[in-house]
Structures are given as C-alpha cells and as structure tokens.
C-alpha cells in the first residue's frame, strides 16, 4: 500500500501490465516524448521505448482504427484520447468496428482494446472541451464502460480493462488526476469490471454516483449527516455492465434514491439507473427518484456560470432532502 495520486495509479497500472504482457502497448497524442498531455504516461517511454509507447499525429480516427486493427490480431492496445471530446472524431471506429467485430465475425475476431482519457469538464475549458459521453458509450452493445473515482479503483480497474478481452471505454477525470489515496502495489490486485462499490453506508437515502460525482456525493453525505441523515453512497465504477444487484440492494435498505452524474440529463446514465430501480424495486420506493445532472447547456467559459452548471454537493443535498420529503 502506498498513497498516490489517481494519475500515478493509472501510470502504475499501465506500467505493471506492460511488464506483464509484451502485447500491451500505449498509443496516442503526446503520450511518449511529452509524457502525456496530463502526464499520465510519465516515464513509460523511457522504460518501454518507442515501440511500445507511441506518439501519434492528430488523427483520432486513424490512430484509433490502427489500434482496433492491432487488437484484431491479438495485441492489446491502450489508445489514449487526449480528452474524450476529441474521440467524437474516432467514434466510428469505437462503435462500428470495435464494438461489433466479434459479433459480425460470428465470434472469430475479438478486439481487446482499451480507449482511455479524461472525460467531462475541468475548469473553464468551454463548450467543446467539457462534455460527458458515458451514456453514449454505455448505449452500445459490445462496449464496456468504466469510470473510476479513486486512485485504488483507477489502478485496479485499468488493469482489469487491459486484461479484458472486450473493448473497454475507460473514462478518467482531469479533476481527479491529482486526488490522492491508498493504492495497493500488488500487481495482481484487480478491481473487477461490473462491480459497484459502496463508498459510504447509510440507511436513509441512496446516492448513486460515479467518477467525479463520487466526491460530490460523499461531501453531500457529510452534510446530510449533520442533520442526522445517513446516505448510502453507491459508486457505480462500471457503467456498462451496470451492477444492478448493488443498486437494488441499496434501494432495499433506503427506499429513497438520488442519482447524481456530471453529464447532461436527457438519457443520461441516471435515466437508466432510474429505469432499473422503478422497474425492479417499484414497491420499495417511498418517493420518486430524483436526479442531479449538469445543466442542459453547452458548458460556458465564465467561471461563475460554469460553477452554477455543475453537479455539486448542495444540489445533491437538496435532492436528498426532497426525496426524504424534508423540503
């Protein structure tokens, strides 16, 4: 165990897996000589050389397709998108190639690839650089979607993603890179894909969250606790496949739910969580489920407007109080 940042946890996951398996390599813009735009790949070029840590031109469609092609032959590429915003240019390869190859080849051709990089907003990056696309990728059969919130989960899940035989969309957070936490140095300690994690226990209200909204939910839970309200905080960790058991168990304990996410509301991840809960636990619900999402606007640059648009502890607290019929 060591305390390290989320960034270094990702770095350690890649380093360990590259040591373990010579078929694993990293490609993307600025991943090698620049050590990564966000320094997630720091030192990997020095350690593994240019064959396995590959700088690409700015050509998201091209290099992600090259990654998919390499994966079709059995290599295990990690394709870094500098941010997931730019992956829109590559989405044809993710959706029409990676997600479908196994199926349309009748099971002959797999695609063990990880697409990774930071998603969502950071600070004042404006409309084109501040978007959350997890609900899009989770919509697509054939993809797994993983979004760790803590350093330990970042390491354990990235290692699982690299070893997974399916294409995995792995969405990090620029605002999480500097957060610190205990991380195991056991190279065989994996966090399984498809398992949520109860980040706090409570009996009064469930807060479902993922990635950047996990610290938000935990702050909200602290605040609620001051009023004697105990929140059960469920960090999804994996968006697809969703850990329906963990969600429903929590609802069974609390009978009240708030779903928080960073992205926009319409058909967001939270909508699917709501659909699941009302379908499978209708009679357990004591109140409608409320969602807290980013404001349904392109992200504004001005810092006050941006702040107002975001999912924050106050909004989660307000929603929790409403599902408890306290306000």
């Amino acid at each position: 165990m060591a305390v390290m940042t989320y960034r270094d946890a990702l770095n350690a996951a890649m380093r360990e897996e590259m040591h373990r398996d010579p078929d694993v390599f990293l490609m993307g813009e600025e991943v090698a000589e620049y050590d990564g735009a966000y320094k997630v790949s720091r030192g990997l070029l020095a350690e593994f050389g240019a064959k396995r840590v590959v700088d690409t031109p700015i050509a998201e469609l091209g290099f992600s397709g090259i990654g998919v092609g390499a994966a079709m032959t059995g290599l295990r590429p990690i394709v870094e998108f500098m941010t997931w915003n730019f992956a829109l240019l590559a989405i044809d390869q993710v959706v029409n190639s990676a997600a479908k190859l196994r199926y349309m080849s009748g099971g002959q051709i797999g695609c063990p690839i990880v697409f990774r990089g930071p998603g969502g907003s950071a600070l004042q990056l404006g409309a084109q650089h501040s978007q959350s696309f997890e609900s899009w990728y989770a919509h697509i059969p054939g993809l797994k979607v993983v979004m760790p919130a803590t350093p330990a989960d970042a390491k354990g899940l990235l290692k699982s993603a690299i070893r997974d035989d399916n294409p995995v969309v792995f969405i990090e957070g620029e605002m999480l890179y500097n957060t610190k936490g205990e991380v195991s140095d056991d190279p065989e300690l994996l966090v399984p894909i498809g398992k949520a994690d109860r980040k706090r226990e409570g009996k009064d209200v469930t807060i479902v969250c993922h990635a950047k909204t996990v610290p938000v939910a935990l702050k909200a839970a602290d605040q609620l606790a001051k009023d004697g309200i105990e929140a059960d905080v469920i960090d999804l960790r994996t968006i697809a496949p969703l850990d329906t058991t963990a969600i429903l168990e929590s609802v069974g304990r609390t009978n009240r739910v708030v779903v928080a996410e960073e992205g926009w509301s319409f058909a967001g991840v939270g909508a699917q969580v709501v659909d699941l809960i009302q379908r499978e636990a209708f009679d357990l619900l004591d109140a409608p489920i409320l969602r807290v999402t980013g404001a349904d606007v392109p992200m504004p640059y001005n810092k006050h407007l941006e702040k107002a648009s975001k999912t924050d502890p106050a909004k989660v607290v307000a929603a929790a109080r409403r599902v408890l019929y306290l306000d």
Binding site: L61, G65, I66, V68, S105, G106
Partner: protein, 337 residues
C-alpha cells in the same frame, strides 16, 4: 518524395508460368460464377440486405491476393466476396454467409458485407466506407510490432479516397513505415457518382505521393499487370517495411448493388459494353490462347468446374440450417461465448 517505382513488365506467357496463369484464370472464373449465382439467389429472395457484386473486377483480387503468404492480412469493404474466394475461403462458407446460415463463415450474423475468416487472416468485410483502411494499417503495425514479415493488404473503392480515414492512415503508414499495401479499386463510380464528380486532382495515386508514399496506377483488367505491380509492392513491404498505394483501374460490369441497374441512370449501356470488351477473364484467356497455352477444352473444363463449385455452394447454402435462436445473444462479449 520517393518517385513511384518503374513498373515491371508483366511476365510473358511461358510454359513455366502457365500453371500459375491457369490458376488465375480459374479463380477469376470461380468468382464470376459465384457472383452470378449470388445475384440469381438474391433476385429470388434467398439472400437479403445489400449485396455488392464483384463482376468485372476479378483481376484485382486475383492479381493482388495471389502474391500473399498465409501470414499476411487481407481486409476489404462490402464488395468482398471475390477477395474472400481469392484468399482461399470456400464458396460454401461464403455463400452460406450470404444466405445467413449457421454454416456461413460468420455464422450467419455478418452477411454479404461482413465476410470474415480468421484462419486465413481475412479480416472482413466492412460496411462503413473507408473504415477498413486504418484497420489494415493496424495489422501492419502489429506485424511490425511482433517482428514478423507479414504484410497487410487493404482494398477500397476510389470514392473512399475522399474520406478522412484514407488520409489519416496514409500519412501515418508512411510516417511509421508500415508494411501495408493500399489498393484503390478505381471502378470509376461510387454508387452513381463518377470519379470526376467526387475527386479533384490529376490521379488518385498523387494522393499517396503527397505523403512521399510509393504510388502507382495499374491496369486492373490485366491480372498479370496487377500481379507485377503487387510483387513490387509486396517486396517493398516485406523487405523494407514500407507502404505502397496502388490505384488499380477497373470497372464493375454490374450495378453498385443488387438494387442498382447496371446502366441507365448514371452511365450508358454503350459505356458498359465498351468496358466489357476488356473483361479480365477474356483478356487473360486470349493471351494464353495466343501463346498456345490454353485450348478450348481446358477453358471449357475450368468453366464447368467453377460453375459446379458455385452451384454446389448454392445447394449447400440452401440446405444449411439457420443459426439457433440463442445465437442472437452470443458473441456480443467475449465472456458470453
């Protein structure tokens, strides 16, 4: 910029090459019969979806793929039956796939546009124009990564040379010196759009040259010319790990897909007939006859044999069972298999 290499003169028809050329002829005939049978089956409603035939373009598949070794990779678009057969897939496996049957190469889940055979490194069968181009470079990347001398061969239409993936990939392939051969099958049309209405510039080969890539225009009706150009490209790939762009000029004698007439809307009957005079099968046969290495009996026997293979494929496909209903949910993820 590397100047495109001088084209080798096609090998003359000699007794030494007659076996090879007979094999080319046979494969082209097999493709022709297969496609004609597929077209008939489509018209009878036995094959569904989109179906794009390769009739007229046979020399491109045969002239290029015949130069490959087993470890090499092949990938194509949706007009890929001919390439699959040239790579050695059985007419049965391909036809059964067109019929959507469980015995089809992709288990009936792929269809005409998604022909795969992992055992032959036949990597599909792709329906999004241009999407196979970066995948092909990925195979070449993998070959180089592993230190093998495998090369990657990628087919696409001339209209696909206007899409971004083509350019992004060519730049990277040259930059990283990937052993990849990019074949533009320039059949003059992308659906109903003639080349000059979709593509600026003097020739598509120039687009490779802009990246310093060895690039060449090839007569795609002459299987020997195709093979000769391919030999140079393969050597460049295998020995020097360098890519090549071949613009192979050909013509499809039939409509874009089964729902498009051979002529009428965007090209005239006369035009099609003019091109049919350069049927790749007849061109090679005439040449072999002229050299005295093909007689009518051999030709007729090859024709009958390949027709019988196509007929057999149809019979096989007709009788083969559909996939089990439970197949709907398999092959989505690796674990579920």
């Amino acid at each position: 910029m590397t100047a495109p290499p001088a084209m080798r003169a096609p090998a003359p028809v000699t007794p030494e090459t007659v076996a090879v050329q007979t094999a080319y002829l046979r494969t082209m005939m097999l493709i022709r019969h297969f496609e004609e049978k597929a077209g008939e089956a489509y018209s009878l409603g036995k094959i569904g979806g989109f179906c794009h035939l390769y009739i007229g373009q046979e020399a491109v598949a045969v002239g290029t793929i015949s130069a490959l070794r087993p470890q090499d990779y092949v990938i194509s678009a949706y007009r890929e039956h001919g390439q699959a057969l040239a790579r050695g897939m059985t007419p049965r496996a391909v036809m059964a796939e067109l019929y959507g049957k469980a015995a089809g190469c992709s288990g009936g889940k792929g269809g005409s546009m998604h022909i795969f055979d992992a055992s032959l490194n036949f990597m599909g069968g792709h329906g999004i124009v241009g999407s196979q181009i970066p995948l092909a470079a990925g195979f070449a990347f993998a070959a180089k990564y592993r230190g093998t001398d495998a090369v990657s061969l990628c087919f696409f239409g001339e209209a696909a040379a206007n899409i971004g993936a083509f350019h992004e990939t060519l730049n990277i392939a040259q930059l990283w010196q990937l052993p990849c051969i990019f074949v533009i099958e320039n059949n003059g049309y992308g659906m109903g759009t003639a080349l000059h209405r979709s593509s600026a510039g003097h020739s598509l080969a120039d687009r490779g040259a802009a990246y310093g890539m060895a690039s060449q225009v090839v007569d795609g009706q002459d299987v020997l010319a195709v093979r000769a150009a391919m030999d140079v490209a393969i050597e460049r790939a295998r020995t020097d790990s360098l890519p090549t762009l071949l613009e192979i000029r050909t013509y499809r004698f039939v409509g874009h897909s089964m729902s498009d007439a051979a002529h009428g809307t965007y090209r005239s009957k006369d035009e099609v007939e003019e091109y049919r005079k350069r049927d790749p099968i007849h061109l090679l046969a005439e040449r072999m006859r002229a050299g005295g290495y093909l007689d009518d009996a051999t030709y007729a026997a090859l024709d009958a044999e390949t027709l019988a293979e196509a007929d057999d494929a149809i019979r096989f496909a007709e009788e083969a069972p559909d996939p089990e209903p439970g197949e709907l949910f398999t092959d989505v993820y690796a674990e579920m298999n």
